[in-house]
């Protein structure tokens, strides 16, 4: 597994999208690079982006390392990705609409009933209600890895509230500020339309009872949350309210904001809190964050919630295996993006295989995230492997396994200069009246040499992601 695809150099040749960057890279003396790196860090600190991506928790004042070397896609590469991502986002939404309705895919035997209906993320409370336009997941974050010039795999889907998009926007902002010449020399598709597109998307799913320009708000758990910066950043960019549960109340079947001028109706809630904390009357009775009565207002069409409560049933790691099947079942199309082959330890045969090949596989918890509770076979000690063997044998249902992927690398500034490091990609697909995808995403990079774990909690950093115009 030493043959990794290098996105910049392919068999000794510089690949086309990186051609101009090579000169830039070579022309930059080490001192300048260090100066720029310090400048970037100062900028990030000043703006205050010091939060953990992907709900990893940890120190809220921690800065995620920013790598100045951009990751580049050609227009052609992107078009294919875009098609695949949109296709997947459509299929995931079709699946959600189905399982909260008639459940045809289960009846057709394409996915086991248990995986859907006994899934912790399946919310019985929202069955019988169809959200506006039948959309459940309005912001779909799809994590992709690349293993070759034409080979992209979906690592996981995020249908609830994928975070990190402020990094995509700020990384670009900072690159443009520090290296304006790069943007003159390369024709790079802009990403700053994201906020507008997000606002349009949210406005397009206003509830049935809203008969005017909808009022939109982002619901945050509060300023102690590690992603608070992102919430306030997005609210500011979209020009919408940033609200906490205590700012809202339900009356007459609608949701109202407490303002200095009296109650103001809120039509669309982009929530950045989990289902369990939305409404103590419906979900967790001990939730202090929630808004009592919210779910009644939602289910009677008085307010829209994005993503819809219950959307999480589409993105767990066990359901993931069936997404290509969803594409075929609902869209009648062949999936453009491939899944990583996955063994379900819940199945006896798969489990046997996994236990026999632990040293080669990546094993993940079905509900885990953030790179925790994970075994990377080839990088683990015998003890770690044996420990995982016990865990799997104890509770096989809780684990899936995948082959260790040869994640592509891109050049990255490291202590010694420039070196290839493994990357992944999270684009953010918006699903509303239209399906939109800004040309770009968040590239995460494993800064440790040889590491395949890109999570910021495990030494990962972020990069600006370019899509070149034609």
């Amino acid at each position: 597994m030493t043959d990794y695809f290098n996105e910049m150099y392919d068999s000794g040749q510089v690949r086309a999208p990186y051609a101009r960057l090579e000169d830039w890279m070579r022309a930059m003396p080490a001192e300048l690079r260090q100066m720029k790196q310090a400048e970037a860090e100062a900028l990030f600190r000043r703006i205050g982006i010091t939060f953990a991506v992907y709900g990893e928790g940890g120190d809220p004042d921690r800065l995620i390392p920013f790598d100045m070397f951009p990751r580049v896609f050609t227009q052609n590469e992107w078009r294919r990705l875009e098609k695949g991502i949109k296709q997947r986002a459509r299929a995931l939404n079709a699946f959600l609409l189905d399982v909260y309705g008639r459940g045809e895919i289960v009846k057709a035997g394409k996915i086991p009933a248990r995986l859907v209906y006994q899934n912790e993320a399946f919310e019985r409370a929202v069955t019988g209600f169809t959200p506006p336009r039948g959309i459940y997941s309005h912001i779909v974050g799809i994590d992709l890895v690349r293993t070759g010039p034409e080979d992209f795999f979906v690592l996981e889907d995020n249908c609830r509230t994928p975070s990190g998009v402020s990094y995509m926007l700020e990384n670009r902002e900072i690159m443009m500020r520090m290296f304006p010449e790069l943007f003159r020399e390369n024709r790079i598709e802009p990403v700053d339309g994201y906020a507008d597109a997000l606002r349009r998307t949210l406005a397009s799913v206003a509830p049935a009872k809203c008969d005017r320009e909808p009022t939109i708000g982002i619901l945050t758990p509060g300023h102690f949350n590690s992603a608070y910066y992102e919430h306030s950043f997005l609210a500011d960019l979209m020009g919408v309210e940033l609200v906490e549960g205590a700012d809202l109340f339900v009356e007459g079947g609608f949701v109202w904001m407490r303002t200095t001028e009296g109650p103001r109706k809120l039509d669309v809630i982009y929530r950045r809190i989990d289902d369990a904390f939305l409404d103590p009357l419906c979900f967790r009775p001990d939730s202090m964050l929630g808004i009592p009565g919210l779910m009644d207002a939602y289910r009677s069409g008085g307010v829209s919630i994005c993503s819809a409560p219950g959307a999480g049933v589409a993105d767990d790691k066990a359901v993931y295996t069936f997404v290509p099947e969803m594409v075929r079942f609902y869209l009648g199309e062949e999936p453009i993006l491939q899944n990583v082959p996955t063994w379900q330890c819940a199945k006896a045969d798969d489990c046997k295989y996994v236990l026999e090949h632990l040293g080669e596989l990546v094993v993940k918890e079905v509900h885990g995230s953030g790179g925790y509770g994970m075994l990377v076979g080839p990088k683990s000690t015998k003890e770690q492997i044996e420990l995982f063997r016990l865990k799997i044998e104890e509770n096989p249902e809780n684990y899936i396994a995948q082959p260790t992927l040869a994640l592509s690398t891109t050049p990255t500034f490291v202590e010694e200069g420039i070196a290839p490091r493994h990357v992944d990609l999270r684009p953010y697909c918006l699903v509303g009246e239209k399906i939109e995808l800004v040309p770009g995403g968040l590239t995460r990079v494993a800064l440790t040499e040889g590491s395949l774990v890109v999570n910021s909690s495990q030494g990962g950093g972020v990069k600006d992601t370019w899509v070149l115009a034609e």
Binding site: Y100, G101, R102, G103, V106, A113, R114, V116, Y117, Q118, F122, R124, A125, V126, T127, G128, F129, F249, V250, E251, G252, G253, F254, P280, L281, C282, P285, P292, G293, M295, D296, A297, R299, S300, G301, G302
Partner: protein, 270 residues
């Protein structure tokens, strides 16, 4: 049978609350066994919110009260015509898959005792229906009707361990036991008309429904060792008592709550 219901619930607070919000599941289910002739739900001084019918067929209505609130009175009055369907929930429109009722909750946690009781009960039972009946019998035998022995948050496992309880404990225990042997089951809340037969029960009642393949949802009332008939009015269901509660409410503030409930069911002379 034609039953009249007069159900008044009062929450009193020892100091005024900022506001109160309620979610009411207080409407007779629509199925072959019952039909509301008249039915009115009102919250005194409250504002009616959104209403909808959920995937389980229950009608839910939200209410809110502006502060200061020192008392909340929920009044239910109506007349329902019932017939005996031998516990079968026939003609009930719902979209939720029965598989969604295999999930455990905190109140219906399946511990070793629940599992043992359920496994033992269904041994030898052939059909799904037999198994369901056996489970209901086992729960009825395992928990004696003793008012005051348990409280609102007692779990199914705790009630079984204690061997005493009320209808809520019976219903939760039966739901848990059925799920333990892979049968979808749910908690049902409603009313029960007490004939002068000396049987100990309250007019506000709860029982369980078990999904029997080939038949559908069937009600079982372990507290009275029978299946719901024309003395029963069904309101709503859920995975446990909390989910199926006819009244869920929250009042914001520091006041202590005092609850007062009166339910009167009468049969109309025909």
């Amino acid at each position: 049978m034609i039953l009249t219901v007069d159900h008044v619930t009062t929450y009193q607070y020892d100091q005024p609350m900022r506001a109160a919000v309620q979610s009411l599941r207080l409407f007779p289910s629509r199925f072959d066994g019952q039909r509301a002739i008249t039915w009115e739900v009102a919250v005194e001084g409250g504002l009616r919110g959104g209403a909808f019918r959920d995937g389980a067929g229950d009608k839910v209505e939200g209410w809110s009260l502006r502060g200061p609130v020192s008392e909340v009175t929920v009044t239910v009055r109506g007349q329902v015509e019932t017939i005996d369907t031998a516990g079968v929930l026939r003609g009930h429109r719902e979209t939720v898959s029965p598989f969604a009722y295999l999930r455990e909750t905190a109140a219906t946690w399946i511990d070793e005792r629940v599992e043992a009781l359920a496994t033992e009960a269904v041994r030898g039972a052939e059909s799904g229906l037999d198994r369901a009946h056996a489970l209901a019998r086992a729960v009825a035998e395992a928990i004696a009707y003793v008012p005051g022995a348990t409280h609102a948050h007692t779990t199914a496992a705790e009630a079984l361990a204690q061997g005493e309880g009320v209808c809520q404990d019976h219903a939760q225990a039966l739901a848990a036991a059925a799920r333990a042997v892979g049968m979808p089951a749910r908690y049902v809340s409603g009313y029960l008309y007490a004939r002068d037969d000396g049987a100990p029960h309250e007019a506000a009642h709860a029982w369980a429904e078990i999904w029997v393949e080939g038949i559908g949802w069937i009600g079982f009332d372990p507290a009275n060792e029978c299946c719901p008939d024309d003395r029963y009015i069904r309101l709503g269901s859920g995975l446990d008592a909390r989910e199926a509660a006819p009244i869920k409410g929250i009042a914001q503030g520091l006041g202590e709550e005092r609850l007062d409930v009166s339910v009167a069911l009468e049969a109309v002379q025909q």
